[in-house]
Symmetry: C3
């Protein structure tokens, strides 16, 4: 074995990757925003980024308009009707003030020229951030792909773990 | 030094492990479920998994029945009486509906043939997931080992950090 | 290339670091305490530790006394007036009991000889834990450096990602 093939072998086994994964579990405005700021920052530094949206985090990916679906159980209908549709309707984790909090937060973001949530999501997509919607959570809550925004992948925890195994930063938000 | 001993040395220092650690801090039904789904998924992929239960996360490990204990301060008695005993009594982080939420969520899980929490915990144990109860949190809250389910280890943050140092995915839930 | 320079090369590329990073997003007493316990534990094991305080987590770094500031928008004035100043005023994530919860928790910590939050913060600083206040969050919420405790660095997400890239454990709390 030559030295150069040794290094190739090492590279295979011990490569220091710069993939990042973020599980977006919480559907709160501030936490989803933090997730997208980290994802956009990492993508801007040329990292591969995987965002895995599960449970309440899926609400951030819902289309704003109501979408007709079929085959939901009555419980699923109630749950999906009560859950917020899209980033504009998420609550704050603190100081929500019955829904006024997120609007105030967004106004403060505008004052400070921080990219609004909609643009953060669009930018993540443009930068090639992989956005996976957790298929098991969607089954439980009765969310259908047609209710979510375009450009998503649909997969389960094994797919997340595969990406996380290649990453050097893995966060649960 | 021969090439083979070189590689042994490398393995010692730079081994890419597939251990995963999960700190289960939050005692909410949905977050504990997410933790066990990830743990079971990783264990199914032959990873070593350490779950470190601390603070409210310990409630997921409590026995359902009341257990007589001695030596608790009056404050600890109040706290442990008010904290939920076992996974069946945890609340949802959103849409708890005064306790109805977790029951509805479990019914939706059954409808979709998702393993119920009890089975997720049993499966994690069968797959050899290491479950550590944080001894410092137990001291603070006055929880005794006899109040928790069998098969746990009892250790502190140093033990968690030791496992995390060997892992390539570390989550705080 | 001699064997020793080979190892130097390897060290450059594949060094197994023991840096830890913790994003402290949540400003709840129990979560901030968990963050500092992990940070202190890791520092005691000679790890480099970076804590990145963002959003509500910044409240844990606020000075207890009111600090006069200028140039805040009226919204920012309202937000910063309503947010807790310093660790002594943070709420618990569960069982807050209108503010009594954290006091009860601290009494239980004293009973069990667990280091109080103030000492945990001081100890982290003495052990050389790098504490970064997220400049973007400070801009949004209108928090000024003079309102925060001494010894902090001020930086953004790129700085966090730089440290996280060098770390083997990265948590979001």
């Amino acid at each position: 074995m030559t030295e150069s093939t040794q290094f190739e072998a090492l590279t295979d086994d011990t490569v220091v990757t710069t993939r990042k994964t973020i599980i977006v579990f919480s559907g709160e405005f501030d936490k989803v925003m933090a997730a997208f700021i980290i994802a956009n920052g990492a993508a801007a530094m040329d990292d591969d980024v995987t965002m895995f949206f599960t449970f309440w985090g899926l609400n951030a990916l819902r289309r704003t308009e109501k979408v007709a679906t079929s085959g939901k159980s009555s419980l699923q209908k109630v749950f999906s009707a009560m859950m917020p549709r899209g980033p504009g309707r998420l609550r704050l984790s603190h100081m929500n003030f019955a829904g006024a909090g997120p609007k105030l937060m967004q106004r403060m973001m505008r004052q400070e020229k921080v990219m609004p949530m909609h643009d953060l999501i669009a930018s993540a997509r443009e930068q090639g951030v992989k956005m996976i919607a957790c298929s098991m959570s969607m089954d439980i809550m009765g969310l259908r792909p047609e209710e979510l925004i375009d450009g998503l992948e649909y997969a389960g925890v094994a797919s997340y773990l595969g990406d996380a195994d290649e990453a050097n930063v893995n966060l649960f938000i």
